[in-house]
């Protein structure tokens, strides 16, 4: 066990964690934030995407101990005060959600993009989401939702 201190969805936490635990399992099993999903466990599907120090990363490809001193965001951060984030609203409006299993990871990738690039082109959106597999929607509505959410370039 190792003690780590990190910020999760805006709140500072100190926890003991097994050195061999992946960040994904830590988030789901220890922090009980089950919005983050496992789709493949080897960085090939993006369902486990979270934001680490402002960047989209796979939580399945990291050890939990690696987040010591880091800032971590999961999908649950987006509606923390009960109101939906503009990305979430646009995903609903554009029907960018079907089975929903890829949705949290997709939202995390989109959020990381808009935080660093508030006015992305369609190609930039595609690059940001290229690691997030969706087997249901055909992606069209996801691109539309992210483009719409970015309108005005004031995402925060």
């Amino acid at each position: 066990m190792k003690t780590i201190t990190f910020t999760i969805n805006g709140e500072k936490e100190t926890r003991d964690v097994s050195e061999s635990k992946t960040l994904l399992n830590f988030i789901r099993e220890d922090l009980h934030l089950t919005g983050t999903k496992e789709g493949c466990g080897e960085g090939e599907c993006g369902a486990c995407t979270i934001i680490l120090n402002g960047k989209a990363v796979h939580s399945c490809m990291m050890l939990a101990v690696e987040i010591d001193g880091c800032d971590v965001e999961t999908v649950e951060v987006m509606s923390k005060d009960g109101n939906l984030d503009i990305l979430q609203e646009k995903f609903i409006e554009h029907n960018a959600v079907q089975c929903g299993f890829c949705t949290p990871g997709m939202l995390m990738s989109a959020r990381a993009l808009l935080l660093s690039n508030p006015n992305p082109t369609v190609d930039e959106i595609k690059t940001a989401l290229e690691g997030n597999i969706c087997r249901c929607t055909g992606y069209k509505q996801i691109i539309e939702a992210v483009s719409d959410a970015a309108k005005g370039g004031k995402y925060e």
């Binding site: 050195e19 992946t22 960085g43 960047k55 399945c60 990291m62 050890l63 101990v65 690691g131």
Partner: protein, 281 residues
């Protein structure tokens, strides 16, 4: 995963002490994008993991008057987006950008790609054409070797168990342009069936200083010296480029990512395309 010991040194000297005691079941962790997959599939069973990301200078991409240093913890996206690398070493920037997905490039490192020593590594052709130097850190100090001597087989390299690659050094070239192309089964997040880097290191079309490396077509990706020499001697024309394509040192295998015939053809075409493009401008 069984219990393991996690070490996270914050200085080189601390790391050196750890390396001194490092055993074969101890593994270096930078981005983790290869290591965690290997652990998941029981390819490796670490008892100890040494996380080297917290050593500040390892994260740096540093430009001096004569060279560029890429630290072993610098991520592929940092490299792909770095202004100097995009300008001076486009084949390396594009090779880095072609790996995995945004999430993978936000964690994975160029040095990790190199140390994984896979024949399909997308940064290796670029490193080869720029004659990169590899700075190796051991408990006793550092040494520098040529990229051409580093990889020794599929997944194998010269690193000893208590050594790590601290950085990749790229001598700053003059009058260069380079480019990288990759062929894969789909348009994102895929391993290369073939990857090619070509660089032109002078402005002479008559006696071009051209450098070529084709990946995913042999156990060890190497420079295409015969083709390079031929072009230097015979100049860069559509005809000589086609002839040079037949001299590429490739011996691809057939696997799920393409047959050897297909790989041969694609390697030729990608090379011809890049060489022609570089020759045109």
């Amino acid at each position: 995963m069984p219990t393991l010991n996690y070490l996270c040194p914050t200085t080189s000297s601390e790391l050196k002490k750890i390396l001194k005691k490092k055993k074969t079941d101890s593994f270096i962790l930078a981005g983790g994008t290869d290591l965690l997959v290997k652990i998941r599939h029981n390819v490796v069973k670490p008892k100890e993991i040494i996380d080297i990301k917290k050593i500040k200078k390892f994260n740096e991409i540093k430009l001096t008057k004569t060279q560029l240093n890429i630290g072993c913890a610098a991520t592929l996206n940092e490299i792909a987006e770095n202004k100097t690398i995009k300008e001076k070493f486009p084949a390396i920037a594009d090779g880095s950008l072609s790996i995995g997905s945004t999430q993978i490039r936000n964690r994975g490192t160029l040095v990790g790609n190199l140390c994984n020593s896979s024949p399909v590594a997308d940064t290796v052709p670029g490193l080869l054409i720029y004659d990169a130097k590899i700075k190796i850190l051991s408990p006793t100090g550092t040494k520098t070797v040529s990229i051409h001597d580093f990889i020794t087989g599929v997944g194998k390299n010269i690193l000893k168990k208590n050594e790590i690659v601290e950085s990749v050094i790229l001598p700053l070239p003059k009058n260069t342009k380079s480019a990288f192309l990759k062929n894969a089964r789909r348009k994102a997040l895929d391993l290369s069936s073939v990857n090619v880097a070509v660089g032109l290191f002078n402005k002479s079309k008559k006696n071009p200083d051209i450098r070529i490396a084709v990946g995913a077509c042999a156990p060890i990706t190497k420079r295409a010296q015969k083709a390079e020499k031929f072009l230097k001697k015979n100049g860069l024309t559509d005809e000589t480029i086609k002839k040079a394509a037949k001299m590429l040192p490739i011996s691809p295998i057939s696997d799920l990512r393409g047959s050897k015939e297909f790989r041969n053809k694609i390697a030729h075409r990608l090379f011809i395309k890049l060489a022609t493009q570089l020759g045109e401008v």
